[in-house]
Each structure stands twice: as C-alpha cells, then as structure tokens.
Amino acid sequence: MMREFGLNDVYFLLLAARWTIALTLASTLIGGLIALVVAILRTMPFRLANWLAIGYINLVQGTPVLGQLFIFFFGFSAFGLDVGAWTAAVTAFSIYASAFLAEIWRGSLQSVPKPQWETSAALGLRYFEQLRYVVIPQAVRISLPPTVGFLVQLVKNTSLAYVIGFVELTRAGNMLNNATFAPLIVFLTVAAMYFVMCFSLSLTSRKLERSLHVAH
C-alpha cells in the first residue's frame, strides 16, 4: 500500500511550489500597492488619514492571518458569496502583507530627513511631487532590506493557506508524506525548494541594493 518517494513526486512538489511563488507574487503586488497608499496616509500631515492608517495597520496586524483566511473563505461563502481558495488566499495574504509593508515603508519614509521635504517645498514642489521625486526614491533604498526580510517570511507563511484547502508546497509535502510515510526525504525536498526560493530573493535584493547604491 505504501509506495516509495520517486521522481514523479519531486515534479509534483515543483508544481506545488509554483503556487507558493504565485501566491507570494500576487500578494506582494496587490499588498504592496495597498501598503504604499496606507504608508502615505500614515505619514501625511493630515490627522484623519493618520488615524485611518493606524487603525487599518493595527486591525490587520492584530488578527492572525489564519483568521483572515477563514473569514474570506468560509465567512463569505456563508453569505452566499462563493470565493475560491485561490481568491481567498490572495485576498488574505495581500491584506496581511499590506499592513506589514505599510509599517516598514512608513519607517523608511519617516527616516528621510525632514530638510529634504522642506527644500523641495521651497523649490515649489507640491506634497505628492515631493513624495514622488524626492522622498520615495530615498526611502526605497532604506526600505529594501526589511522589505526583502518580510517577503522571505511571506514565502514561508503562504503555507498557512493549506487550512482552506489550497495546495501549495507544504500541503503537497503533507499529502506525499501520507502516501509514502517517508517524512525525511519528503520534507528535505520541500525544505530545499523553500531554500532556493528564499535564497534567490536575498540574492536579488543584494544585487538591487548594490545597483541602487551605485546610482545613489
């Protein structure tokens, strides 16, 4: 009954790893866009916007991503809204990523020295022009290491999507373990794949950091 772990299974894990990558990418893109808006609302000189952003960040950071997965998957279907596992997972992880990235980027925006704002204001740039041409380009460099650090966490955290039946790398590993009862080889393979993903992220970040440094 219990079969051996074979080459087919490595292929199966690779296919599942695609979903880990897809989920991470989609959440980073959508979450990043939301995070940009939230980080700006959080830092702009307008109290109501600050409060809204703080409320959003606290709400999301204060609830487990697991709970968010459940809300989007089971909660919405209880209201007759049929959300697929992929949609629910992307939604939950985008929101999760948006709050953490917003907080990282807020810090980066605020670490750009205040005189940079003043000088660009004195040159006649409006708030969003100051942000876009002077502050954000400098904040990007500051934010790169912590952002990549978070993305490495995100890659691994996407495995939580298994609770709503989403088959990504960890879940696929679980399924193979229960077919082969060979946890060592199965999870070593799984770990190796996670390592390749996270390590290439770090490599890309280091390259990017260097190129940003050269260009100042």
Binding site: P64, L66, S77, G165, N174, L176, N177
Partner: protein, 262 residues
Amino acid sequence: MFKQITGLAFAVATALAGFMTPAQAELKDILDAGKIRIGVTADVQPFGFLDENNEKIGLDVDVAGMIAEAMGVDLELVTVTSANRISYLATNRIDLTIAAMGATPERALQINFSSPYSALSIGLFGPEGSGVDSLAEVGDKSIAVARGTTQDIELTARAPDANISRYDDDATAASAYLSGQDDLFATANIIASSLTQRDPDNPLKPIEMFRYSPAHVGVPKGSPELLQWVNTFVFYNINNGVLSDLTEKWLGTPLPENFPSL
C-alpha cells in the same frame, strides 16, 4: 497554540455557516446541475491518498466514483482534510464528504451521517516485547496518534490520563513512533500492517483493539432527499457485496456478515 486557533476558527466557520444556513444542494439541484462535488482526503491511507502519478486514489475515491455513476452526473473531487471536511460541507462548498469519517453525536449536530459504507479496526500498537499487553498497562509510555481522528477520540476516552502525543496525520504520528519519539502508536490496523510489511524486522503488534470503526458519508443538514438517496445507495451496495469487495481491496479484509447500519 496554532492548533487551537485553527480548531477555533473551524468551529466558528462551521457555527457561522449553521447560523446563516446557506442554501444546501438537494438531490434535485445536483441532478439539475449534472455534477456532484464530493470532498475526499488526499492524505489518509488507504481512503484517499496520492498514487505514483500523484492522482487521488483510495477507497473513498472509488466510492465517490460509484455515487456519481449511480446518479448519472459528473464527479468533481474536492480535496479536504480531517480538520476542514465538516466546514466544507456546512458551507456548501461540497455536496457530500467521503473522508474516512466516523460518526459521533457531536459531529452529527453539524452534519448528517449516512449508513456506514466500510469499516476498519482501530487500536493501540507497539513493538515486539514492549511489555505492554493492554491499555491499562501503558503507564507513562507515550502514545502517538493523529489528532481528532476516531482513534484519538477512543484513546482519550479509554485512557484519559495516558501520555498522548497528537500529530497532524497518521504519517507524522507513524514517524514519531518509528523514530522513537513515542513508545506506542494508536492507529488503524491497515496502517499497522502496511508498516510491518515495509519493515518486517520491526513489526507492530496489536496491544489492544479499541473497536471496529465504520466510515460514513457526510451529508449536509437540510438535505433529506440527498441523505435518503445515499442511504439507499449504501444499502444496495452492501447487500450486493460491492462495498465488501471494495473494502477487501483497500483494507485487506471484507466486511463482516452483520455489518451495522444507521
């Protein structure tokens, strides 16, 4: 901690679904749609698991195929886990769940159970010469078991003070036992005999069999026609011996003469 959050979340999701009572698929809806969505596991040997080509196979997968064929509709297999199979059913993500599920009064508050379509034996196993001959002699030896399964429920009820280590699934529990993390292993007889086949030098010996554990089809609340149809299907296929043959194929022994029904 993590497991408690998961458990709580599933409970809330299921309760919410029960409270909202989303429109459940009745027999007529399935026939009209021409398709039935059945939840099966992909990580429970030998009921639903992956073969060499990583296709889902197993006793439950075969039963699901028989049901779709008997209804004359297309089959959509949805992968569920032991943890989420009830939530999936209660929130109308699937029409039936065939996931190696035992009936308990607690679970029956949330979903309905059909008559059992198959069964296996569950019990406590250990290595040769463990010095333990019954559950009463376990002492402080640690027992590996898959969390929330029928064997977990039975073990906890029979030996509430035992040193029980709960794992996500049978494979992980088996690894804990085989690696020496735990001294004994509560599981199904079919798992124990498969492990013995793989490594005959270290056989798993039965210490005490808890009981015969029938598996039931889960049917959503509020679908009496569907429940009646599934019961008729099970009755018919036990009577003609098909389900007994299927049980022999996957579990190694046929169903007994007087197989119980609900």
